[in-house]
């Protein structure tokens, strides 16, 4: 049976197609003001990759913050449920999921079947979101990919960027740049405090066995390295962390059809 999941995030929209629970195609596009179109485009990309046609798909599940705008979805569910489901399906040992998207950051606890048993989201401020990292990248004009490695080079000098508010944290960083501080050291400071906040989220739901890091930011070694150190456990990062939500959505759709 073929089902699809579409995850409409604030920055990018992802689609995944699964055949009997196995992924057969995926597509990622930037979320345009026209979310409906973005959803369709990501879907088409996934169809191309899977070599399937639109009417092969029996069920479409929408998720992500733009889920309400997907008219062709048969059902919608929260990204929280989807990330739990998707991550757990990729690695059966996963009980805790950390998802960092564009607008928010969540820690999710799930059972052996990938069902949510607890979750927390960063209700205060964007410190710890993809958007925040983007803005830091803008500030020191470098690419998002460079941030992580750079932050690992500056660890010898500790600059406190402690503010819990994204705007103030940026202000701190600006001042340090103006004061001519070493960019790597600044990033180290920013990532240290970021890691502490994320750690706090994870602690609230607790960890056992494997923790999966999903979402666009998961590839950032600056955060991963710090978290593995502070948590004292190996973090599982899916090959394609961005599409975990869409993948989970497709699976939830598939289950609902049985």
């Amino acid at each position: 049976m073929i089902t699809a999941g579409i995850d409409v995030g604030s920055l990018s929209t992802k689609a995944v197609i699964v055949a009997d629970g196995k992924p057969v195609g995926s597509g990622i596009v930037l979320t345009s003001p026209d979310t409906e179109a973005s959803a369709a485009n990501s879907m088409n990309k996934a169809l191309q990759q899977s070599g399937l046609a639109r009417n092969d798909i029996l069920h479409v599940t929408g998720t992500g913050y733009g889920r309400i705008n997907i008219s062709f979805a048969d059902k919608t569910t929260t990204e929280i449920a989807c990330h739990a489901k998707g991550a757990n399906a990729q690695n059966g040992l996963v009980r805790t999921i950390l998802d960092m998207g564009g607008q928010d950051c969540k820690a999710i606890r799930c059972d052996e079947q990938g069902r949510v048993v607890n979750f927390v989201m960063n209700d205060k401020c964007a410190a710890g979101t993809g958007r925040f990292l983007e803005r830091i990248a803008d500030l020191i004009d470098c690419s998002l990919e460079e941030l992580g490695p750079m932050s690992l080079q500056g660890v010898n000098k500790h600059l406190p960027i402690s503010s819990t508010c994204a705007v103030f944290a940026e202000e701190d960083i600006r001042k340090l740049i103006r004061a001519g501080e070493d960019v790597n050291a600044i990033l180290a400071g920013a990532f240290d405090s970021l890691a502490i906040r994320i750690q706090a989220l994870i602690d609230r739901v607790g960890t056992e066995e494997t923790l999966c890091f999903s979402g666009g930011v998961a590839k950032n070694v600056g955060i991963v390295t710090r978290l593995e150190k502070s948590l004292g456990l190996k973090i599982f990062i899916p090959i394609d962390p961005q599409i975990i939500g869409a993948f989970g959505a497709a699976l939830i759709g598939w289950e609902s059809m049985q």
Partner: protein, 440 residues
């Protein structure tokens, strides 16, 4: 967070060590700009902490968040978590706040109230056998304690004080009402806390010490009016504890007498805290950024802080309002009535009392402006800031700086912004002062 009663008591350990260090420093190389009497003060503080530590060991009951006299008269050791939380600024505060955010403890209320909870739950500070709270302490203090008691199963008793001040109006009905509740509390403690018994003689004795102490303190208030101001901002800001809080109350009275003598000497020498000379005299109100040192910053720019309106015993209140043994129309008050009278203070009353307090201080001490620190999550003081500013402008022609901030948690503190605002304000005070002097 794992709740661990009296695990480690690291706060107590740390305080004892700090006092020892300070005593040593003053004895070995004293700083002439700081009072020598501090030796006594640190010894008192140290012995108080030792007493608390021993009580935890021996199981001697600890309790009641204020009113040292009544606590000791009940056979308990005073438990001052809220005042102690004030001293956890800097790194310690940051760590507590990580826990606070993790545990969902309210983080946007008064810092000291947020910190109080993990401080006791983690066992850094003793778990009390009993707490008492009055509605006059303010909502955050009241409910931080309520939350602590409810989550750690600590017996507690709340006392209600009428909003119309029975103390100022000498209202027998209000007084009787509070005394009745005090009696109920005494009975409740004797019933619920093993090893407690109300000892009125002891209460009378301790009240006398507190009275002696405050008599001296009133003289200090007059000295604060001297130009230039002989007290440093830090001294004005120091949270005074009454003798009855300490294991050796007599020593506390000696300390105050000695300190007073030192200040008198400063006055004779014409000592000025503000350098190079006193240009402005400002009142600091409510709280301040305890993790930084705005007072030195101001003093280096010729600004002195003769008084801080923050707690009962720093500001005008203690200098002027009735205290133990002071007259009450028609009769002498009983010991419990005296306690009750002290529980009615400006903080919990209708707003105009808090406004007047500021005007009185500014008049008494010839001040040129008010720095009103709007501490995050302090409902009692926050929304009166503008009223005080307008009234001070209207009545005394002096400006008020309303400045937001946190008291212990420094992560949101922006030095440049904060001192930028202080500087702006001192410029305005100077401009207005110059104007006052040219145009009579």
């Amino acid at each position: 967070m794992k709740v661990q009663e009296n695990a480690g008591l690291i706060y107590i350990k740390h305080e004892i060590a700090t006092c020892e260090r300070r005593i040593k420093r003053i004895k070995e190389n004293p700083d002439p700009s700081k009072p020598q009497s501090n030796i006594l003060l640190y010894e008192m503080e140290r012995d108080f902490r030792i007493e608390q530590r021993e009580a935890c060991k021996t199981g001697k009951p600890v309790g009641i968040a204020s009113m040292g006299g009544l606590t000791r008269a009940m056979g308990m050791v005073p438990w001052d978590a809220i005042m102690s939380a004030d001293r956890t600024h800097g790194k310690a505060a940051t760590q507590y706040f990580e826990t606070i955010r993790k545990e969902g403890i309210p983080e946007h209320t008064c810092d000291r109230c947020s910190i109080l909870i993990p401080m006791v739950q983690q066992g850094d500070f003793p778990k009390p056998q009993f707490t008492f709270m009055s509605n006059f302490e303010c909502i955050p203090v009241l409910f931080a304690h309520a939350a602590l008691c409810h989550t750690m199963d600590i017996p507690s008793f709340n006392i209600d004080i009428p909003i119309k001040s029975f103390k100022m109006d000498n209202d027998e009905e209000g007084l009787a009402y509070v005394v009745e509740q005090l009696r109920e509390m005494v009975a409740y403690i004797e019933k619920t806390v093993p090893g407690t018994k109300y000892n009125e003689e002891l209460l009378v004795e301790l009240q006398e010490y507190d009275r002696q102490f405050l008599l001296e303190f009133r003289k200090l208030w007059k000295l604060k009016a001297t130009i230039p101001c002989p007290l440093s901002g830090r001294e004005s800001f120091r949270e005074i504890r009454l003798p009855s809080m300490y294991p050796d109350p007599a020593k506390a009275v000696d300390y105050m007498r000695l300190y007073l003598k030192e200040i008198e000497e400063r006055v004779e020498k014409g000592f000025s805290a503000a350098q190079p000379e006193e240009k402005l005299r400002l009142l600091w109100s409510v709280a301040g950024p305890f993790y930084d040192d705005p007072f030195s910053w101001l003093e280096q720019r010729g600004v002195s802080i003769p008084a801080a309106e923050m707690t009962v015993y720093n500001g005008w209140f203690s200098g002027r309002e009735a205290m133990w043994g002071d007259p009450w129309p028609g009769r002498k008050l009983t010991p419990l009535e005296e306690e009750a009278r002290q529980m009615d203070f400006v903080w919990g009353r209708e707003g105009h009392y808090w406004v007047d307090t500021h005007l009185h201080s500014c008049r008494d001490l010839h001040l040129d402006g008010i720095i009103y620190f709007q501490q995050w999550g302090c409902p009692t003081s926050n929304s009166l800031g503008k009223v005080i500013a307008d009234t001070a402008e209207k009545e005394l022609g002096i400006p008020t700086l309303l400045i937001e901030g946190r008291m212990l948690e420094s992560s949101m503190f922006d030095k440049k912004d904060f001192y930028g605002r202080l500087e702006e304000f001192t410029e305005i005070c100077a401009a207005k002062k110059a104007n006052r002097q040219t145009s009579p």
